[in-house]
């Protein structure tokens, strides 16, 4: 069994080369090998959503995906969300505006999930936002502000 495999990962439009054990998840590859620590490790079991990033434009849990599965795909993380000049993405700005966090640990996952939720069109009502954001837990309980931020960002994008 080869101890490592070589992967070329396209993260936020840039190619990264890494040698990882086959069992390494996308989350661990991002954090420990590419040093992109914006994507957070919460439960590491697919239950909290802190590790949410996008693969080929769809939100996924990077803790339940092997890095090898993401090879050849377009991976997007929180680090790639703001404009190059530093202007925040509208969802990031809405989270700031609505104070949609307390400790902030779940926030990158919340924001990546919200960006996808808005793109999917699942923001027709607060109930729909809650349903389609239910995969992202916030132990501080900032849910009301998170829903408000997603609602405002969704309205602004229409």
């Amino acid at each position: 069994m080869p101890p490592t495999i070589h992967l070329s990962l396209n993260v936020n439009g840039a190619m990264h080369e890494c040698d990882v054990e086959p069992r390494v998840t996308l989350l661990d590859a991002l954090r420990d090998h590419l040093h992109l620590t914006g994507t957070k490790k919460g439960c590491d079991q697919g239950q909290c959503g802190a590790c949410t990033c996008h693969v080929d434009g769809k939100r996924v849990l990077s803790c339940l995906m092997l890095a090898a599965q993401a090879e050849g795909r377009e991976i997007a993380t929180i680090e790639g969300l703001a404009a190059e000049n530093g202007d925040l993405h509208p969802v990031q700005a809405a989270f700031l505006e609505h104070d949609a966090f307390q400790c902030g640990y779940c926030t990158p996952g919340q924001i990546m999930s919200a960006v996808a939720c808005i793109r999917e069109g699942h923001t027709g009502s607060d109930d729909e936002i809650r349903e389609y954001m239910s995969g992202n837990l916030c132990r501080c309980g900032a849910y009301n502000s998170i829903v408000a931020a997603v609602r405002e960002a969704a309205e602004a994008s229409r």
């Binding site: 080869p2 495999i5 697919g46 769809k58 339940l64 995906m65 599965q69 939720c117 954001m133």
Partner: protein, 327 residues
């Protein structure tokens, strides 16, 4: 998680050859496999990624029914306009499962093959005894905390419940699991427990689900999936019901009714006694409630899960009454 080798199958024949060998695990979405590997329930030597095999992710809907490739993502089926229109219970069962992220990852074939959420099964570090994980080792759940365990189809060896939603809806509407070389009715696909609870489906080494087909029926078009759970979203069913209904020309006599339940049984559970009691009848609340109780005849409860004896019939009744426009 134990390390393993990783390779990608180029074709379904590649994957079948690989799957015949011991120690090989197939990976489609990977959400179940990685979760179980992290807790050491699964410890494959070789992981074969089948997700890039072409031609297994199409959705076709026509007047005879629907055919869905096994690698189709849950989200793609849940959001498909023709599935939503002609098989609403199927679309709802998927939309009410897992989270948006997981639905983008998990495949339909993998969804059928998901393992129980029994906490004893999933915790080998603390509970060595599990007949499903290690045949003959005993059952840690019996006599333990059993709130989420099955009341139907259990055995003295295992009381774990089947956690999925999609398979429950498929069972109500006589779906067929296509293995390429043979086709298996969904009701025959999942094995009853008995003495060998580690055997969950009829799949043999080297067999892979290639597609799921659902015949078009009036009952499937007029259908609902009702899921009752401890929290409103992102949670497994405490009880669920997939119900389909078709009336005679008079608009109130039941011509066809389908009932399958989840969250309460060792496998997706067709409640034929409920169906038989209501065919040819006019629906009213009392008749529906009485018939729904037939679903849990023969239930064996553990104490903690006794509430399901009441919850499951109420879930069925509410689904039927809602669908029939009576509730």
């Amino acid at each position: 998680m134990k390390n393993f080798s990783y390779s990608r199958a180029q074709s379904i024949d590649d994957a079948r050859d690989a799957a015949r060998k011991a120690g090989v695990a197939l990976l489609a979405g990977g959400t179940s496999l990685l979760d179980l590997a992290k807790s050491a329930v699964e410890a494959p030597d070789d992981v074969i990624d089948i997700s890039r095999i072409p031609g297994l992710d199409a959705i076709t809907v026509n007047d005879t029914g629907a055919e869905i490739g096994a690698l189709t993502k849950m989200a793609a089926v849940a959001d498909h306009p023709d599935i939503k229109a002609r098989f609403p219970a199927i679309a709802q069962s998927l939309a009410l499962s897992a989270s948006a992220q997981l639905r983008n990852m998990a495949s339909l074939g993998g969804n059928l093959m998901q393992r129980t959420r029994c906490t004893y099964f999933r915790d080998p570090a603390n509970f060595a005894a599990c007949n499903k994980r290690t045949p003959g080792s005993g059952c840690s759940a019996i006599g333990g905390v059993t709130r989420n365990h099955a009341i139907l189809g259990t055995s003295e060896e295992c009381i774990a419940s089947y956690p999925g939603d999609l398979a429950v809806a498929l069972t109500a509407f006589d779906a067929v699991v296509d293995l390429g070389s043979r086709k298996v009715a969904i009701d025959d696909f999942f094995l009853p427990y008995g003495a060998a609870p580690h055997l969950e489906t009829v799949l043999q080494p080297g067999e892979i689900i290639t597609a799921i087909t659902i015949p078009a029926t009036m009952a499937a078009t007029n259908s609902i999936y009702l899921k009752v759970r401890d929290r409103q979203s992102y949670e497994f069913a405490a009880a669920s019901a997939a119900v389909g209904l078709d009336f005679e020309e008079d608009g109130h006599t039941v011509r066809d009714i389908r009932v399958a339940i989840g969250g309460v049984a060792s496998r997706p559970w067709r409640a034929r006694a409920v169906e038989q009691a209501l065919i040819g009848k006019t629906l009213d609340a009392r008749a529906v409630e009485r018939a729904s109780r037939l679903a849990v005849e023969g239930a064996v409860t553990q104490g903690d899960n006794h509430y399901k004896v009441h919850l499951a019939p109420r879930t069925i009744a509410r689904a039927i009454l809602t669908l029939g426009g009576i509730a």
